[in-house]
């Protein structure tokens, strides 16, 4: 066999060296593009249009979340099982015009907090006097999250609290107090849920309730009968908690219609849910982010049942670890995309987050989505939890905040090896907690920094968390937006697992204008949950929806916030109410909040 010429060998080795060097070169390019570390307020405002300042202590919020204690049989992996429960949900519970904050705790004896917004930039915890504090007790379980919605139609937002334990419904009496309404409501005795969402699935005007089960509902974490509680597959698990759909009868009771509505066909580990009318047929649909499996999209069939459409729509085929689901309109095309966070750990697991962007319909029935997270630069998160859209800098394009981090324990240690050696195995092995190696205080995807991706408006996002004062490396879980301080900016509340809540006061560039829309629905759905609002300006259209439950275990204020950028040319506001009727408003002025009541006809 003939010898290869020397120059060819040189070319070959250069080619090979180029291949080896490729990742390093790409990394260098990326770092140069990122480039910006910490900067001062003025520079951040100039460059990114926004500055965040953590103000929790200054405004009177000193809440600290405590993770649950569990059965001693789980002691060796306690931190990874007890890894959720820090949640935040925002509403104006007392109708004084200021958004209030509800935070859940997860240890027996630890109180939840209801921070009433005094309207002067400070808050006071009124959970005790409201009856919403002492909700983590033996026998009933611990809080995992809460969603607000006026299910009685009296104009005041009621509270549904989901637990690992007994779910609870609290009726808002309108005088600052709440009363338990669980027993007459007909809710299940015990669930292990991490998500719930209010929505009017049959358009009868009353808010119905979806609850997503995570761990199996037969598991009592404080009295385990078996250690076979873990997922039977890391990517194809079939032993998750039961999901529930309760139809509101309008008399304080609910009817369990889960099976007849088609939501009992799978047993996935649902970790997040959100709802909106995604196929424009006038009925709200349901999006579920499932851990250990594929996500699911349920299309509402004319208010009679849900039909699974995940595979047909393109978003329910590749299994990942769905942790959060949120709706946004990042391109200002007047249509909703779905952002789902997953898990990525360099060198071990690279799932990438998903941005499902509508790209047409199939058979005239199913909305079809394409995952464009990679091309927009919002794919590479870490161990993701809540990921939610909101226009932080009021430039007219929705930005994205993504919470990251699983278990921050002993610095410099890592549980990933032990985790990886087990989870690839057969269900008989991984399904039993006894087979899992002890964590022994090790960190597990901990100390990860949350992402703040600013939408450049030209089809890409830029990570700026450090640059704009928002660097945070706690084990963040749930995030919610609201204009807490009445300055036309979307402030941010981040609930952290086993840590202190962080409240960020947002300052957007003063020349970036905005408009806020508060919808007052006609009773009984006074919350106008399910309404869609599309704002048209500068030749663009941005759609937002009123939801009661979004991202991971969170709920942002019901008021819809539109950033408008500089010198906007406003056109019109289109509101599609939950009953399908439409309202169109023109002659709008920026930099103000408007309240719109649902017309009778």
């Amino acid at each position: 066999m003939k010898k290869t010429a020397g120059w060819k060998k040189i070319v070959l080795f250069l080619f090979f060296a180029g291949l080896i060097a490729t990742p390093a070169l790409l990394r260098e390019v990326e770092e140069r593009q990122m480039g910006e570390r910490g900067m001062d307020r003025e520079t951040a405002l100039q460059r990114h249009g926004v500055w965040l300042q953590e103000v929790s202590r200054d405004v009177g919020i000193d809440f600290v979340h405590h993770r649950p204690t569990l059965d001693p049989l789980l002691e060796h992996i306690h931190e990874q099982v007890a890894s959720v429960g820090a949640s935040v949900s925002i509403t104006d519970y007392n109708r004084d015009g200021f958004p209030d904050i509800y935070l859940t705790n997860s240890r027996f004896g630890a109180s939840n907090a209801l921070y009433r917004n005094r309207g002067d930039g400070t808050f006071e915890d009124v959970a005790d006097s409201s009856g919403l504090a002492r909700l983590n007790e033996e026998g009933v379980g611990v809080s995992m999250g809460a969603v607000w919605g006026d299910y009685t139609g009296n104009g005041y937002e009621d509270l549904f609290l989901y637990r690992w334990g007994r779910p609870e419904l609290f009726r808002n009496l309108g005088n600052g107090e709440f009363e338990r309404a669980t027993r007459e409501a007909g809710l299940p005795e015990w669930i292990n849920a991490n998500t719930a969402v209010w929505m009017d699935v049959n358009r009868d005007g009353y808010l119905d309730l979806f609850i997503g089960g995570y761990f199996h509902e037969e598991i009592n974490f404080w009295n385990l009968e078996s250690t076979r509680i873990m997922p039977d597959s890391y990517e194809y698990a079939t032993n998750g908690g039961r999901n529930y759909l309760f139809l509101n009868n309008g008399d304080g009771t609910f009817e369990d219609v889960t099976e007849s509505w088609g939501l009992l066909e799978t047993r996935r580990w649902t970790l997040a849910s959100t709802s909106a009318d995604l196929n424009d047929d006038g009925y709200v649909d349901l999006m579920l982010a499932n851990d250990y499996g594929v996500d699911e999209l349920y299309l509402n069939d004319r208010g009679e049942r849900f039909r699974r459409a995940g595979e047909e729509s393109g978003l329910g085929f590749v299994p990942k670890s769905g942790m959060s689901a949120d709706l946004g309109d990042p391109f200002n095309r007047g249509e909703l995309s779905i952002y789902v966070t997953n898990i990525s750990e360099p060198g071990v697991l690279m799932q990438g987050n998903n941005l499902w962007v509508p790209s047409g319909t199939r058979d005239g029935l199913f909305p079809v989505y394409r995952n464009l997270a990679s091309s927009l630069g919002i794919e590479r998160g870490e161990w993701g939890y809540g990921g939610a859209f909101g226009d932080l800098n009021n430039d007219g394009f929705q930005d994205l905040y993504v919470a990251n981090g699983y278990v921050s324990a002993e610095p410099g240690t890592d549980y990933w090896y032990d985790y990886a050696k087990v989870v690839g195995g057969n269900r008989q092995i991984i399904g039993d907690a006894r087979n899992w190696p002890a964590m022994n205080g090790r960190t597990f995807s901990g100390y990860q920094q949350n992402k703040i991706w600013i939408n450049t408006g030209s089809g890409s996002f830029r990570e700026v968390s450090t640059a704009i004062g928002g660097a945070l490396s706690l084990d963040s879980r749930s995030i919610a937006y609201a204009d807490l301080f009445g300055n036309g900016g979307l402030d941010l509340v981040v609930a952290n697992q086993n840590g202190a809540v962080q409240v960020y006061r947002t300052t957007a560039r003063p020349d970036h204008e905005w408009i806020r829309v508060q919808l007052e629905g006609r009773p009984p759905n006074t919350s106008a949950i399910g309404a869609s609002v599309t704002f048209f300006w500068n030749g663009m259209a941005q759609q937002q929806v009123v939801t009661a439950g979004r991202a991971f275990s969170s709920q942002s204020e019901r008021t819809i916030h539109f950033g408008l950028g500089t010198d906007p040319e406003l056109d019109r506001l289109e509101i599609r109410w939950p009953d399908g009727k439409q309202t169109i408003l023109r002659d709008l002025k920026p930099n103000r909040s408007i309240t719109i009541e649902q017309p009778e006809n």
């Binding site: 003939k2 032990d418 087990v422 195995g425």
Partner: protein, 276 residues
């Protein structure tokens, strides 16, 4: 049969032999994807296959002046498509290109000494771990699926006279798993859990049995399989997530070189293929 075998010749038996591996890996991929959706996207897989084809074709033409049968490149490409996990496209292409390139760059006495896919995967883990990972926890955990893959795979390696390699490795793995369990205090099932997953199925059935990168004697191959398990044991104690890939990466070439040195010392080599 192996992920990287390629055979020349045009009689029916040779044709069957040549296409058995590509066909098998394609069938496993199709069955797995249709059952479980193991591929993030077909685009990623096609990227790997295309990159593999182009690299093989161009390098072979450039170095030897002739076009080469691409069945081996197909297997390397499809292996990269299965094993690499990344939301990005370029790691798939890079893994495939590195795999193919290694066959031309690292040769000893006329043959390549690394299993190409193993080389590509290890390079990705070493140099691009912040962009990509390797299949480790996907592919479901249904017992029937696992049994089907093991049975089909073991029958195939048996017919290719490579069963002894897989058998020695698996037995060694179970033995070293027991020792690890004793050392670390973790449950024995935790230590052997990984071998019931898809990464090991590909590794045991296809990668360590590669005829091109295994030693020639039957006893030698069994010793090499044992040594791979031993090195993996040590790497696992150091908490290397992808210990089997690193172990094969380290042991495979050393065994090949030692065998050649031994053979050269005792009798002159007669066969040789392309050489650089």
């Amino acid at each position: 049969m192996s992920l990287t075998s390629s055979v020349t010749g045009f009689n029916p038996k040779e044709l069957l032999k040549r296409f058995t591996a590509p066909l098998l890996i394609t069938l496993i991929l199709l069955a797995s994807h249709l059952s479980f959706g193991i591929l993030d996207s077909l685009g990623h897989l096609m990227t790997a296959i295309l990159a593999s084809f182009l690299t093989e074709a161009i390098l072979h033409r450039f170095l030897f002046g002739s076009w080469r049968d691409l069945s081996s490149a197909y297997i390397s490409g499809i292996s990269a498509g299965i094993l690499i996990r990344s939301p990005l496209y370029w790691p798939f292409a890079l893994c495939a290109m590195l795999s193919i390139s290694s066959k031309y760059v690292f040769r000893y006495n006329g043959r390549h000494i690394w299993n190409p896919t193993n080389f590509g995967v290890v390079m990705i883990l070493l140099f691009a771990s912040d962009y990509a990972a390797v299949l480790s926890i996907q592919w479901g955990s249904q017992m029937w699926a696992m049994l089907v893959i093991w049975i089909v795979g073991l029958v195939t390696v048996y017919r290719a006279s490579r069963f002894h390699i897989s058998a020695v490795y698996v037995l060694s793995f179970f033995f070293f798993g027991w020792i690890r369990s004793w050392i670390t205090g973790d449950p024995y099932l935790a230590e052997i859990s990984a071998i019931t997953g898809p990464m090991y199925q590909l590794f045991v059935l296809f990668m360590i049995t590669d005829p091109k990168t295994t030693v020639r004697s039957r006893n030698g191959r069994m010793w090499v399989a044992f040594m791979i398990a031993l090195v993996e044991f040590a790497l696992r104690l150091s908490e290397a997530v992808y210990a089997p890939f690193y172990a094969l990466f380290l042991v495979g070439p050393v065994a090949m070189v030692l065998e050649d040195l031994w053979t050269t010392r005792n009798r002159p080599r007669s066969e040789s293929t392309h050489s650089l």
